[in-house]
C-alpha cells in the first residue's frame, strides 16, 4: 500500500473543505436541501478519506474484491451519484406533472375570467 503524497492530500483536502463550505452555504440559504447536502458532500468526503487514509482505500478494495483501490473509490462514488441522479429524475418527473397541472388550471381560470360563460357558442 503506497502512502498518498503530501501534494495529493493537500489538493484533495482544499477541494473538500472549499466544496463543503460552498454547499453548506447553499443549504443554509435553502438553495439545497439536507439530502442534497449529504449526497453532494460525499463526493468530496470520500476522495478525501481515500487520500488521507489510504488504509481505507485498501480495505474497500479488499472487501469489494477489486485489485486497485482507485477502482473501489470510483465504484463508491458511482453508487452515490447513481442514487442522487435517480432521485433527481423522480423529482423532475413529479415537477413536470405539477407544472402541467398548474398551467392547465391557471389557463382555465384565465379563460373563465376573460370569457364569461355564455359569451360565445356555449349552448346546445
Amino acid at each position: 500500500m503506497h502512502p498518498t503524497s503530501l501534494q495529493t492530500m493537500l489538493i484533495v483536502s482544499v477541494f473538500t473543505v472549499v466544496y463543503l463550505i460552498y454547499i453548506a452555504r447553499k443549504t443554509a440559504h435553502q438553495k439545497l436541501d439536507v439530502y442534497d447536502f449529504v449526497m453532494l458532500s460525499s463526493l468530496g468526503v470520500i476522495p478525501f478519506l481515500f487520500a488521507v487514509f489510504p488504509g481505507v482505500a485498501a480495505f474497500a478494495a479488499e472487501v469489494t474484491g477489486v485489485v486497485y483501490p482507485f477502482v473501489a473509490l470510483f465504484g463508491l462514488l458511482f453508487i452515490f451519484i447513481f442514487v442522487f441522479v435517480h432521485r433527481l429524475t423522480e423529482k423532475v418527473h413529479s415537477l413536470e406533472q405539477d407544472n402541467r397541472m398548474l398551467v392547465q388550471e391557471i389557463s382555465l381560470l384565465r379563460q373563465a375570467l376573460e370569457q364569461p360563460r355564455g359569451a360565445k357558442s356555449d349552448s346546445d
Binding site: 379563460q111 360563460r117 359569451a119 360565445k120 357558442s121
Partner: protein
C-alpha cells in the same frame, strides 16, 4: 342535441389558417358547444379562435396530451355529458360527430373511437402510418383479446362522463391516443369504434415523421405493455 350536452374539444398548435374555417363549419352543423385549446401557438390561432368560440390559451406548450386533458377538465367542470376530440387542422369533419353521437345512443360506450379504416372511402393516411397503426392495433389485441381496434391512433374520439372523470385526472402527456386507449381498457371502461370519414391535413405538418416514427412506436408499445402489466393503474 336533445338531452345530451356535447362538447367539441379542439386542441390547436399553430393552426391559424385552419381554425377559423373549422369553427365556421361546426357552427353550420349546429348544436355543438366548443372549446378551443390553444397549446401555446406562436401565430394568430388564439385571435382567430376566440372570435368564434370559448378558447383556453395555455401559458406554455404542453403537447397534445396536455391540451386535450385541459379540454376534458373543462368538459367535466361545465357538466357536459359527452365530449368529442377533433383536431384543429381540419382533418376531422364536424359532420362526423353526429355518427359518434348516434352510435353512442344506440350502444353507449365510455370511449368511442372514430375509425378511418372501417370505411374505404375515407382518407386513410399514408401507408407507413397505416402500418404503424396496425402494429399498435395488433399489439393491443394481443394484450386485450376482447377488444379489436382498427384505428388506435385516431384523434377523433368521444368520451362519456365516466371517461371524462377518469381522463380529467389521468391522461398521457405524449402521443396520448393509443396510450389512453390502453389505460381505458385496463381501467375497465367500455370502448368501441365507429366508422368515420376523415380528410387529409389542409395546413401544417404532422409532428410524427422520420426517425421520430421509430421512437414513437417504441414508446407507445412500451407504455401499452406497462399499462397492461402494472397493478398500480391511476385511480
Amino acid at each position: 342535441m336533445d338531452d345530451l350536452r356535447v362538447l367539441l374539444i379542439i386542441p390547436c398548435y399553430n393552426e391559424q389558417d385552419s381554425i377559423g374555417p373549422l369553427l365556421d363549419e361546426i357552427a353550420a352543423c349546429g348544436g355543438y358547444a366548443t372549446i378551443v385549446i390553444d397549446d401555446g401557438s406562436r401565430d394568430a390561432t388564439y385571435q382567430n379562435a376566440v372570435k368564434r368560440s370559448p378558447t383556453v390559451r395555455l401559458l406554455r406548450n404542453l403537447g397534445i396530451g396536455g391540451a386535450v386533458q385541459t379540454g376534458i377538465k373543462y368538459a367535466e367542470r361545465m357538466g357536459f355529458d359527452l365530449c368529442v376530440q377533433i383536431d384543429g387542422d381540419g382533418q376531422h369533419p364536424p359532420a362526423e360527430v353526429a355518427r359518434l353521437v348516434a352510435a353512442y345512443r344506440a350502444s353507449p360506450r365510455s370511449l368511442l373511437i372514430g375509425s378511418r379504416y372501417l370505411l374505404n372511402d375515407s382518407f386513410r393516411s399514408t401507408s407507413s402510418r397505416r402500418m404503424g397503426s396496425q402494429v399498435i392495433a395488433r399489439f393491443l389485441r394481443l394484450l386485450y383479446p376482447h377488444f379489436h381496434a382498427t384505428d388506435p391512433t385516431s384523434g377523433m374520439r368521444m368520451m362519456d362522463r365516466a371517461a371524462i372523470q377518469f381522463f380529467a385526472r389521468h391522461y398521457p402527456a405524449d402521443y396520448p391516443e393509443p396510450i389512453s386507449l390502453a389505460w381505458a381498457l385496463k381501467r375497465g371502461l367500455s370502448v368501441g369504434e365507429v366508422a368515420v370519414k376523415m380528410r387529409a391535413r389542409e395546413h401544417g405538418r404532422s409532428s410524427i415523421f422520420g426517425l421520430r416514427s421509430a421512437a414513437y412506436m417504441a414508446r407507445v408499445l412500451g407504455y401499452i405493455l406497462l399499462a397492461r402489466l402494472s397493478r398500480f393503474m391511476p385511480r
